[in-house]
């Protein structure tokens, strides 16, 4: 919870109007992200710890309820795919 996720060097998260979605760009690759993945990655700035990210998301999406499990699962998955690093 106190660990700080950041995008792996060489990865860029950005909005693509033509695809009407956020994407993750990396060397010669691109993944189109769904809404929840985008919402989480938008909070990953290399400074905020996981607990803050969850709190902010719960505040921004009050209808979504408790988000801890979902966020942690996504971050674990993203780390395994080497999109992010946890420090």
């Amino acid at each position: 919870m106190t660990r700080v996720p950041r995008l792996r060097p060489g990865f860029r998260f950005q909005w693509e109007p033509v695809q009407d979605s956020h994407v993750l760009l990396y060397p010669e690759g691109m993944v189109k992200l769904n809404t929840s993945a985008s919402a989480i990655l938008a909070e990953v700035d290399g400074h905020r710890p996981v607990a803050d990210i969850i709190a902010r998301l719960e505040q921004n999406f009050p209808d979504a309820g408790e988000l801890t499990d979902d966020v942690c699962e996504f971050l674990r998955d993203a780390q395994q795919k080497h999109w992010i690093e946890l420090q």
Partner: protein, 383 residues
Amino acid sequence: MNDVARPGHPSHTVGPPLWLLAELTYRCPLQCPYCSNPLDFADQSDELTTEEWVSVLRQGRAMGAAQLGFSGGEPLVRQDLPELIAEARHLGYYSNLITSGIGLTEQKVRAFREAGLDHIQVSFQASDPELNNAVAGSRKAFDQKLAMARAVKDAGYPMVLNFVIHRHNIHQMTDIISLCERLEADYVELATCQYYGWAFRNREGLMPSAAQLEQAEREVNDYRGQLAQSGSAMKLIFVTPDYYEIRPKACMNGWGSMFLTVAPDGTALPCHSARLLPIEFPNTRQMALKSIWYESPGFNHYRGDSWMPEPCRSCDEKGKDFGGCRCQAYLLTGNADNADPVCDKSPHHDRILAARRAADHATAGLEDLTYRNTRNSRLFFRS
């Protein structure tokens, strides 16, 4: 897949070109015998100007291209590269520089970073200097490449190392990967030659035998296992030659579906080797990129599947591989409409089997290959 645009009938189902490959020049100081540039590259010296490239980049980005590759030839010979990098960053591209490392300096590596370049891919020919330099046709290439790979890492880029694999270096897999590990590469591409351009010309002298390939696959898999155990993030991408498959690759993810290449003279192509096809392709000097992509006969030629002859026409896998690679069909059967002969349903599959047999018995050395240089290129042009 039946609702995809038919030739001459572009429809809204054609997606945007998400990848733009800018082949800035065919000029290159090296002479790799597997180079994918056209055999007659020496005759194509009329390169787009800086302004013309900037216009191509702007149009491509407006249409939705997000990944941009600067390649060649050797893109570093273009003096306006820093300007083009800065423009790419400004437009919001993720930009990739694909280089042999020859002509690169630490200062340039840093200056490109400041201009907004996202990634530099350095290509190697082998894991040791002797073989590397022999394949590249240059005496000091290897040391320069090592130095530049380190400079790329130091400047904070992700490090992607590319090795083109063929019968003369395929026995080096373990050495190559361990060299990459020492250099702390993030991604390693072990790309077996694709037989177009100069590589097709030299196929007999480049194609590994089945036994060589099996051995290499074992080595790569073993190494992959070790990396996973040690928690390494280094990713190994081993591209095996499709000549050893029985189903073709889904070339370019479908003709004109997401890849757009612009050649040094402005010719727009659905893939970088399509120039060899007997099809007329539009030029960015004469036509807007949008019309090129959505309306030109060249780009619509092989969209959809109504162009397919048998066996593809009635095949239930056509939505998966689109009948394979048009260039390969053309080079091996003389007709680009045919099924890619890699497919064992193709009546021309025997050409692939013959190439495999030849690879089992090939004896040609490096000195027997035709090196990619201006002199050899002019010979092709004349003949």
